[in-house]
Symmetry: C2
Subunit: 355 residues, 2 copies
């Protein structure tokens, strides 16, 4: 047993609603399991947006070489504007957004402020936020990571406040074992949050370690999956799914199928759709018979639609940098249709999503 659901009782508090139940409610409202990844790469942001920022900076006579801090500030501003435009253009269509921490960390505390503002903006609009950070450590360091991104933090006067970024879910790497997971489960169960642990990742070389055959004939990722199932037992909500989920690459449909069968209460976060080559059909393997059990992420497939060749063939009028937000909206609608058609074909489209 990792942590009892009853920990909130002595405090006279009501246990917060299971975050997976909330997520399913949002999915039903939007009729899609699609989550938009916010991974802003400066090199790929629309030029007009960068020029707009650069003009303001130039007006103030800024010189990044003399003062790189102004450059970080301007970069963070570009990221924030880009994200806000994407969120505003798509928030009525999707249940969740997933910012990837790396792209914000690049610009130090300026970038992290843009991340905090992005999370706040998305949550204010009613969306669920998954912070993709793949954190991992043990004992009090793991507790600090969980508190940092899902929980509460102590202030110098001894009182506690919600952490500045306060996401709904985060991602975690479980290579360190139970000592590295319990602190996340403890904070998540207490504060009504959740997290996804890497099981089978979407990349080509994921097999180097994850597919190694153990002496009992199973792969390492299967062993990890069993640990994930065990770690999540205390956090199962009304939906039958736990707040401890698994990252399962959509690029490995065979493995996803195997894992779906085995992990009846584990929600999958599935990266790899489109950009990494996974089709909507591949995705369906991660869903159960009722169309539950997976949330699908698409990042640059949506946010970079304006510069995508295939998208341009279908929507030439939107394939322009100055139309990046409208292109993202169109690409979101296309993706939802693509995924729901595949779910329908597989006999897995939830009843209430049918039009």
């Amino acid at each position: 047993m990792i942590i009892s659901k009853d920990i909130w009782k002595p405090m006279g508090l009501k246990m917060p609603r299971n975050i997976v139940d909330k997520l399913y409610e949002k999915m039903d409202e939007k009729k899609t399991p699609l989550c938009i990844g916010l991974d802003p790469v400066m090199e790929e942001l629309p030029r007009p947006l960068l020029q707009e920022i650069q003009e303001v900076m130039d007006e103030h006579g800024s010189n990044y070489e003399l003062n790189p801090e102004l450059g970080y500030l301007a970069s963070a501003e570009a990221i924030k504007r880009f994200n806000f435009a994407i969120i505003d253009a798509t928030r009525d269509l999707v249940p969740a957004f997933k910012p990837q921490s790396a792209f914000y960390e690049k610009y130090g505390h300026w970038g992290i402020r843009a991340l905090e503002e992005t999370i706040k903006h998305a949550r204010k609009k009613g969306a669920i936020v998954i912070l993709d950070a793949k954190r991992n450590d043990i004992g009090k360091t793991a507790t600090a990571y969980a508190e940092a991104h899902l929980g509460r933090v102590m202030l110098p006067n001894g009182k506690y406040a919600r952490s500045p970024d306060d996401a709904d879910f985060m991602t975690v790497n479980g290579y360190l074992g139970s000592d590295g997971i319990e602190p996340f489960a403890k904070v998540a169960n207490r504060d009504g949050k959740g997290f996804f642990i890497l099981a089978k990742t979407s990349n080509k070389s994921s097999g180097e370690l994850q597919d190694i055959l153990i002496s009992d004939g199973e792969e390492v990722y299967m062993k990890m999956a069993k640990l994930i199932s065990e770690w999540g037992k205390e956090g199962i909500g009304e939906s039958g799914y736990s707040n401890v989920g698994a990252v399962v690459g959509a690029t490995y449909p065979e493995e996803a199928k195997k894992l779906r069968k085995m992990l009846s209460h584990v929600l999958f976060l599935m990266p790899g759709y489109k950009t990494q080559g996974a089709s909507a059909e591949d995705l369906t393997e991660g869903f159960d018979e009722n169309g539950r059990g997976a949330i699908v992420n698409s990042s640059s497939g949506i946010t970079g639609a304006f510069s995508n060749e295939k998208f341009a063939e279908r929507h030439p009028e939107l394939a322009k940098p100055e139309k990046f937000a409208e292109a993202a909206r169109q690409s979101t609608m296309d993706s939802i249709e693509d995924i729901n058609s595949a779910l329908k074909k597989a006999g897995k489209l939830p009843k209430s999503w049918r039009i």
Copy 2:
């Protein structure tokens, strides 16, 4: 081959000096492989320091409940003052400092600013800085992490600047395979930096995944170790060691011995000394016959000495919260003596360190 050393040539640049060579030079200067971990936990910071901050906040009529941002700001200030005091009290004694990112992330962008200032302060004093962040991802996300903490970042005008935190080394989790390592190696080789990959971690449950026997009779951590050795071949410096190192828990001396034999060019970052129960004798297994091959971390054993019972027995006059910096200095000297005695006993004390 991951990345050729020659990538700097077309740019007409001189390759930066191997960071491991620099680290050994610092170790020789200080005659110790000891690194001080900076893991500031608000709950454990010396009370007088917190009171000092709180008084300033109270003077300004701050109310954290109305305005939690002021609470984060005050927390970050406490962390910064604590770290600067520790660095100033010990920097003449040790070659390196290792801040653990989690404890800074807790306070959002305010905390990350304190981390940046800490790194800058330590480097200005000539120390090597290892950012313990255990990052991991693939492709362009891994590149973003490497750029964020070791490299250069693009600004809106298309030019590049050093990243705001700019550490010398970082730690990385290799569970995602080569796709997750190559980007770190590329940035590290280009910019004269290094990184340590988790092999056998110091925690109790590390065996759940890392000790699993593979069908060929080896453990997962041994497989990871071989990958680390392979990944590091391009980054070997004059010392014979590579800028791609391994995290090997001092709490597992048998495993450390096995790994030391196998990984002749891999530098070990060894956590677990004292606080997690590893002795100086255990540590020696990570060193080669010339006393090279390992850097040893101690965090709360040094920064929390002022409140440690065993320390109080030996140095009652320093076991007071208001003497936290002097206590840290004394504990550093004690640890250096302890480790060097054990190295001497094992016949591994480098010649130039003998007094």
